[in-house]
């Protein structure tokens, strides 16, 4: 179970990262705002993967401590943390050489939801009741 959870975290994280990079390409080509020097593809993949592995670890711990309520508690915590994380892009202070910092949240806020979406989407494939 634990190994499958870690695998879920890693796979969903990498897929979320790939989706985020694809979204970044689409965003850059449609708005002309290039933030690739700040949101680097490698960093996106690494952060998404670490976030989802961490989520899997948290889920494993909750299953151990609160077997009955683990599912609901984990879902709430993961989603609330995801929503809270979107404050980061709004508060970020970019280098002054970046032309349009106004467009930065438009790129990064949706990206923050990719890991949680990927984790929940792939969970039934890895964890069967």
């Amino acid at each position: 179970m634990f190994k499958r959870l870690i695998l879920l975290g890693a796979v969903s994280g990498v897929l979320a990262g790939i989706a985020a990079i694809v979204y970044q390409k689409v965003y850059t080509s449609s708005t002309g705002a290039d933030f690739s020097s700040i949101a680097k593809p490698v960093n996106i993949i690494v952060v998404c993967t670490l976030a989802n592995i961490l989520a899997s670890l948290g889920y494993a711990l909750l299953l151990k401590w609160l077997p009955r309520a683990a599912e609901i508690v984990f879902n709430f915590v993961f989603v609330i943390l995801t929503f809270a994380s979107i404050l980061g892009p709004f508060a970020a202070k970019l280098p002054l050489t970046i032309e349009a910092p106004e467009l930065f949240p438009g790129l990064t806020v949706p990206m923050h939801f990719f890991p949680v979406l990927a984790w929940f989407t792939l969970k039934p494939l890895f964890i069967k009741k």
Binding site: A91, L94, L96, P101, P105
Partner: protein, 190 residues
């Protein structure tokens, strides 16, 4: 009689010569006074502001610079900054800075500086002029240095202004009253 005529001719010639020299001197003086090098601002300028809490740049800066190291009294700066070009590095802060609480970019789209006097100082020069910002005009003096680099040159200067003097933002609050301005303007001969 002949001698008298010769003396008259000499006197007339002398007068003509003196008049010619005087005209030449006057013309040279006027020319020397009016011919002061004008400079074109390149796009590598940097207009930066900073305080304890906020900092940023203005991306659009234009105007005319007429400056002669040997004749600073005849030099003149007439420059403007586009307020809407402010960049603090944060989109929300940019929007806030342009709002009526701060610069009110819609009502006062430009910051204007017109020099009135430029004098040589020990280390460089001192310019005194009118700074027009947020509908308020105040006399501001600041030191600057002029450094020639090949075919061009760079003006560098720093000074501080009190934002409350220009009614920018509410007095007090998190943003300091004193805002430091750093100006670096590379120019080429115009």
């Amino acid at each position: 009689m002949q001698i008298l005529n010769l003396q008259k001719t000499n006197l007339t010639n002398m007068k003509k010569l003196i008049f010619s020299i005087a005209t030449l001197l006057a013309f040279t003086a006027v020319f020397a006074f009016t011919f002061v090098q004008s400079w074109q601002i390149t796009d590598k300028y940097n207009i930066q502001f900073s305080s304890n809490d906020v900092g940023g740049i203005f991306k659009t800066f234009k105007g005319s610079i007429v400056f002669d190291e040997a004749n600073p009294a005849a030099s003149k700066f007439d420059v403007t900054i586009d307020v809407a070009s402010i960049n603090t590095g944060n989109g929300l802060q940019n929007k806030h800075a342009k709002s009526d609480e701060w610069f009110d970019a819609a009502k006062y789209p430009e910051i204007k500086y017109t020099s009135k006097k430029i004098v040589k100082t020990g280390a460089g020069y001192q310019v005194t002029g009118d700074l027009q910002m947020h509908g308020v005009t105040k006399e501001v003096s600041f030191p600057f240095v002029f450094k020639k680099t090949g075919a061009g040159a760079t003006f560098n200067g720093s000074f501080a202004i009190n934002r409350s003097d220009f009614h920018i933002g509410k007095p007090g609050g998190e943003v300091a009253e004193q805002i430091k301005i750093d100006v670096a303007v590379p120019v080429t001969k115009g």
